[in-house]
Assembly symmetry: C2
Homo-oligomer: 75 residues x 2
């Protein structure tokens, strides 16, 4: 089975990578960019249930204080 985990920042938490990317794009002249958000994706393969992947998020992949995660199966 193949799972996709997406880790993003919770609302209200500073997404410093998104902010610095926005600033870099503007410096390069992309003046029409309004907002950039950064997220991390992990593609995880193995004989794993959704519950296993949730546990991976809770124990290693996501910071419960500042990050949200979402899990989807890749067909």
């Amino acid at each position: 089975m193949k799972w996709e985990v997406r880790i993003s920042y919770k609302k209200g938490v500073l997404d410093s990578e998104g902010e610095s990317t926005l600033s870099g794009l503007k410096t390069l002249g992309f003046n029409n960019v309004d907002n950039v958000k950064a997220a991390k994706v992990y593609l995880i393969e193995g004989n794993l249930t959704r519950r296993d992947v949730e546990e991976m998020c809770e124990r290693l992949l996501a910071n419960p204080v500042s990050q949200d995660y979402s899990i989807s199966e890749v067909k």
Copy 2:
């Protein structure tokens, strides 16, 4: 308009974050994990065409030597 850019490693390039995540998961006892790949996602909002976003990938977001990018519009 809102665009999603996904940056991943080209085939044959070492995905060190994927490898270290795999190793960390095994250390935590997730022995059924076979493979982990890491990727980066940017959600970019603004009055931008697909060509603008391609140019952003080529000039800032992706390393053309080691990374691939894919772009999709978020509805």
